[in-house]
């Protein structure tokens, strides 16, 4: 999976969890809680959706590492690569 594909998947799941967010308006450095106003239940739903879609099980302590699209792409890319090895 390329980084662009990971980013697209992240934004798609984000907009599924929060249908009122237009993924086209989300910036790479937008914080999902501070800027996009996801609450803790939304974050859990996003993590669950990413687990289902990408097979990456993000533990609670790693939630800060997916706090923005830019951070999430780095984290998910590394997780997918280490799973493939």
């Amino acid at each position: 999976m390329t980084k662009d594909e990971i980013r697209a998947a992240f934004l798609e799941e984000l907009s599924r969890v929060a249908p009122d967010i237009d993924p086209a308006t989300v910036g790479d450095d937008d914080h999902i809680q501070d800027d996009l106003e996801l609450d803790s239940m939304d974050v859990l739903n996003l993590v669950a959706a990413l687990h289902e879609r990408l097979g990456v099980n993000i533990p609670e302590r790693s939630y800060p590492e997916i706090a923005t699209p830019a951070l999430a792409v780095v984290y998910l890319d590394a997780a997918l690569k280490s799973a493939a090895m």
Partner: protein, 395 residues
């Protein structure tokens, strides 16, 4: 059209989920109605066969208007509705309880949906359709001149007025503005009619946080439990013990509720708030409570809450989540009589077993209705909640 809140006057039918000939039973979701608080799924409280859908998609209907005719087993269909002579054809806007429309013609020969008797022509006599249109367009009917029989204001008079440039109607309010109006009405009524009083306590939630860390460790995300679910479960247990916090105050009297329907406040992005109820929260274990809350939040975001969830809450829990302010003093949702406000957890120096240690603490503020309870009951509620926080595994 059911009332989905004390301040609701009308709703717009946006979707039918049944059709004539369908069999329905109590609790089935049959329609979607757009209200000031978003789209709400309407459940039915009858059993039988759908005879007729009386209301059309897009119709804005007052509370109490007939939406459909349901026939019980063996019941004869009512006589077809006759158009009432004086009123225009907006028969769907007629306030009439659905049950009345269900009565077989033998027992009640009245037509299904009689239009209201047209008011005697006078200076402000107006047809029902014209009144609805004027309301929608924000036109003051006293400024209109009627051209109908006897000077009655008819639809054409309203439309004619709306087309005049200087009487341009205000732009229809956005959904967000509508929600702000609904919140303003409910909260103003609450503050004007409910004599609130408040008790606060800062509670050590470290045992609950440690318990969840162990519980969630290694679990897939779909099975993880949040602190908010522990709060809702503990508040429901406390409410079941302190009856004066759980129920409705209506018509000048308090009716305690046997079940605890825990209203969960959900903040909507861009502003606004809904507090759908987790029905019979006492019957749910912690995992079911969490699943129920995830479902409620998801449907609140997608605009798919049910009418019963919007009206049958018996106490509300409003939690600020995992970051943010440390305390919140909330406004009770009428007709409920208590609201549990929970701040975000903060690490504070705390005395445990005679030593000062860093602990996660949460400040609970209980807003209660002084018509129903006093400080003693409120303090008891808080003590129950605090005790449960020391033994989260028992929840």
């Amino acid at each position: 059209m059911p009332s989905l809140g004390a301040d609701m006057e009308a709703g717009t039918l946006v979707e039918w989920l049944i059709k004539p000939g369908d069999t329905v039973s109590r609790g089935d979701v049959v329609a979607v109605v757009e209200t000031q608080k978003g789209a709400i799924e309407i459940e039915i409280f009858e059993e039988g066969k759908v005879h007729e859908l009386s209301a059309e998609i897009g119709a804005k209907l007052p509370v109490g208007a007939a939406l459909a005719v349901i026939l019980k087993d063996g019941e004869a269909p009512p006589a077809p509705a006759k158009p009432a002579p004086p009123a225009p054809a907006e028969a769907e806007a007629v306030p009439e309880a659905a049950e009345e429309a269900l009565t077989p013609p033998v027992a009640a020969p009245a037509p299904v949906a009689p239009a209201p008797v047209a008011p005697a022509p006078g200076p402000n006599a107006i047809s029902p359709a014209a009144r609805i249109r004027a309301h929608e367009l924000g036109i003051d009917v006293s400024t209109l001149r009627g051209t109908g029989p006897g000077g009655v204001i008819v639809l054409a008079d309203v439309d004619g007025s709306a087309q005049k440039p200087k009487a341009a109607p205000p732009k229809p309010a956005s959904p967000m503005e509508e929600m702000r109006k609904a919140i303003a009405a409910a909260m103003t009524r609450s503050k004007q009619t409910i004599p609130h009083f408040y008790l606060s306590e800062t509670i050590d939630v470290q045992p609950a946080i440690d318990f969840l860390e162990t519980l969630n460790d290694g679990k897939p995300p779909a099975e993880r439990v949040l602190l908010g679910a522990i709060f809702v479960k503990a508040a429901a247990r406390a409410a079941s013990k302190v009856k004066t916090m759980n129920g409705h105050f209506t018509d000048g009297a308090f009716a305690p509720s046997e079940v605890v329907n825990a209203g969960v406040a959900v903040a909507l992005r861009g502003g606004g708030l809904v507090a759908p109820a987790l029905m019979d929260a006492m019957s749910l274990d912690l995992a079911q409570t969490m699943a129920g809350m995830r479902d409620l939040v998801g449907r609140a975001r997608a605009g798919r809450l049910r009418a019963s969830e919007m009206t049958e809450g018996t106490i509300t829990i409003s939690s600020l989540g995992e970051t943010g302010a440390e305390a919140m003093t909330g406004v009770i949702f009428p007709p409920q009589v208590a609201l549990v406000g929970l701040g975000a957890p903060h690490v504070r120096p705390w005395v445990v077993d005679g030593a000062v240690v860093p602990r996660n603490v949460v400040t609970l503020t209980l807003s209660a209705d002084h018509r129903v309870s006093d400080g003693r009951q409120a303090a008891r509620f808080i003590t129950e909640f605090e005790t449960l926080m020391t033994m989260p595994e028992a929840l």
